[in-house]
Symmetry: D2
Subunit: 302 residues, 4 copies
């Protein structure tokens, strides 16, 4: 079974200049993520704009990545939906495509968190592959207290959480205090990655455009070299914060991936599909300040 | 062009005993709605559990109703989605299937209501068939002030609103004060139908299980017989309120449609797919009190 | 100790024509509630516009009612606040004034419902008088699952809930299934009072302008005469629903209390402090249809 | 008239070891803010835990600061409330105490943003001192689109905004594009201060525990030395981000102010009034990394 830990890379969904899903760029994402040392790839998540794709487009993403990743790198598939029956259908398709895991958040705008366990039981209680429980209040409108997260994990027979309810470090602390041994991924663009590791996170699962940085922070931390982990965090924090902005951050990330030679375009499915000139000017400035260059080859980090 | 006014019936999505979409029941819904005098049928709306269907199931609903309704009764199709590109794809499919109109709500959890106009322009600005702008804060998490509703209507080249932001009567009043001549449908199960007519609503578009009642109220009101309209409202209000309950109301409605011989089962896609015994006992009581009987034949209302 | 059950009357806060708190009308409210047979009065609740009063005005309300009610009718005091320290101060003042109970809701916009117990412990864990736990998501923005409600009750050493999370009847059912013997008051203007009684509610605590009706429904139900209870509910439902509208309902209620001779004016602290002409016209119509007359003397209900 | 621009300091409300408001520490805050070069002090804001104070405590804060600040440094007073009448009372008291300005946010949980103008007209339309319109969706639950912000400003006869709706830089850009010349303060702990200045912000108004840093960034930026401004931002960003965390950030800030010799204790009115050990350990680490020392004397920034 795939080791669900480390530095996973959440793939964006790339679009061509006319707005269609771009399989060529998707294949380059798989190549790049592998060469950058990602421990796995997650597709069809929030930052993959899954809610903004037609079902045919979701199938294109899934089948393209499944083929490109086969035998090279494990992949997980976002399968969230408001109804358990739809989650089950999504999970079945992911399993069929060879996914290593599925990721499922609470149903959008769910009001009664006492229903969390029944939902996860119905949705993924019999999943043949591991389930990652995603705690993502910004996208779902649902805040899960730790008690509800634990109920979800039990119902899903899962020991893996992607935790994105800020501030994440103390919540990771509370969660692990109640359930030691869980695998907790941070997300949110890696802005709090170092703090999350300090609280016991097993890694990050996010779409930050330089996953090499997050991996280097983690490896230094795991090796006990907290000074190096902190220094890497602090050096790149201006860009982590800049890319990590809500709503506009995805366009920044895609622009950087375009500059790295991975994506053909920076387009998103937002109403304004490309970053505006002021954002691009500040991006140039931030990247220069932290010394990031746009090559597709893995960063060499001293 | 179809007259978008009157008493439209919102179709639920029927399920078989094992939870699959049930085309036979869907065809009976079209038959029944026609015989009950509905001016049109709306499918794939919130009460059609559209968010809880796979895309294949949505296609089943659309194609089944399109075939059954062709030449007999106009139908409108819910095409809402968070991204304009997906709405456009949904609209294209609805047009292809022969729909008379499409219905589009604000994108779920949209925060900046100044973006409403740009969204509707991108989503339905070039729709070849009429657009119904749906104001449904409970399902979308987005409250639209009247100014945003008007911006949406302009962007959609639309003059038709389905208004479900309670309390609906004063909002209808405010909307029509600023834009006389709009067609405003009430919804919300018809609980406020009579009050909405008093404020200028053109009718209701809802899934209430006895649309004959809502039609009779409207016809009496339009004929100037407000005493009869009010008396019909008051007589059936206990059941209107009972069926109109949030969350549990859909199961009640489907149970009544089952008793009327339209649906094979009362199943929904909720975690508890059938009404509980206490709800069923109260349903029996309410129906008896207001004198409603379960036949599929149109109610004869004195 | 006061019997916290039955039909409690939630007092509005009356204003004079120039918008000041009106003690004379407050005293008439106490007189009227007593004569109408209310089992108690609750002040400084959501419908008492407590959030819209200065602290001096809240003190005026409290001291006026305390004096007027002393020895005649028990009263409860809304003491909700975002911080436990402020709740404690409010409770101390209520105790000092002779209140029979305090009512406390969750802190506004609380996100982590696992903190509910700690909040109630800190806020009212040592209250010398009974605590009513209020479940009011519309006013607080906080949805409490049944598990959180039970934790709040335990922390508050309370056995009394005012439950206003719609649909209330099934939530009352779930709550009492887990904790038989609780006293559950319905609220929400009494719109679901009869259904709530069927599910085990002990009464209603609401500001409906004719509490005699709610009391008559309850007494009939408790006497086993469900037919009479249901008939009373159905007869007056058009007005219950009309007064029960969110946001605009308080102005309607105050206008009726003005007509009954209790309040000097119908003013609220909303931006539009008085009902608009269309609302007043419909009010006349509804009252006429259900046969309600405006006297201050208790309704005689056949 | 006071120049409402620059680097304003939002005062926390200090508490003694037993949880009471601490006037001695408040006076030290005024002293320190003056010596740190703040252009003004704002009291009774969200980060001043205004919602968690009794009215007597708010009066203590106001009168203490008014006395301490008189003739030395201008101060602004948070006067937000759900009802215009209460805002008016708060404004009157602030004027009486000698405030230079008042700050008013949208009413908590307001749904209809078309009512913003009427609210500000009723609340502060006749304020004799300048009004700062606060855009703070996290605390109010109300997202104001730019159109609503402009309506609020017009109604308040104001040209000053405190903008805290993330991501703040692009919203500042949109706002100033529509209304050049506005004074826009950033907030949110200064995390985005440098980006906000790039978009046209006039300064920051926040409670960051080292306002000297924010002032130095602004002065460098205004002098055209963007390299220095950016370098200062990047150097201190690890601490800006750490203190800027939602919910837990206030406790961190107060702990640092305690270490700087300003506050007697780090207590807040949260359920857990002091930072936990893991947070304190990380605080030590972050401060050491960025080279911040705890003296009350103004930082000397190269």
């Amino acid at each position: 079974m795939t080791d669900l830990t480390g530095t996973w890379y959440i793939s964006p969904t790339p679009f061509t200049g006319d707005g269609a899903v771009d399989p060529d760029s998707l294949r380059r994402i798989v190549d790049a993520a592998s060469s950058w040392g990602a421990d796995g790839i997650t597709i069809l998540g929030v930052m993959g704009e899954v809610a903004d794709l037609t079902s045919a487009e979701r199938e294109t993403v899934l089948s393209t990545v499944a083929t490109a990743a086969a035998g090279r790198i494990p992949f997980a598939v976002g399968c969230s939906a408001p109804a358990a029956a739809v989650v089950r259908a999504n999970v079945a398709r992911a399993v069929d495509a060879g996914a290593s895991a599925v990721m499922v958040a609470a149903p959008t705008l769910l009001r009664d968190t006492d229903q969390i366990a029944a939902f996860y039981t119905a949705a993924v209680g019999t999943s043949p592959i591991p389930v990652i429980v995603q705690d993502e209040p910004a996208a779902t409108g649902v805040t899960m207290p730790v008690s509800a997260l634990l109920a979800a994990l039990d119902a899903a027979h899962s020991t893996v959480v992607k935790l994105e309810d800020p501030p994440t470090p103390p919540k990771i602390g509370r969660l692990l205090a109640q359930r030691p041994g869980l695998t907790v991924f941070g997300g949110l663009g890696g802005v709090s990655a170092y703090s999350e590791l300090r609280r016991g996170a097993a890694g990050t699962m996010t779409g930050f455009a330089y996953p090499e940085i997050l991996k280097a922070i983690r490896l230094a931390f795991e090796a006990g070299d907290t000074a190096r982990a902190a220094a890497l965090n602090d050096r790149f924090l201006p860009y982590l914060v800049f890319e990590g902005q809500v709503r506009v951050g995805l366009g920044i990330r895609k622009e950087v991936l375009r500059r790295r030679g991975v994506l053909a375009t920076a387009r998103t499915r937002a109403l304004n599909p490309l970053p505006d000139p002021a954002t691009l000017a500040e991006l140039d400035d931030v990247l220069a300040r932290v010394g990031l260059t746009p090559g597709i080859e893995p960063l060499e980090l001293q």
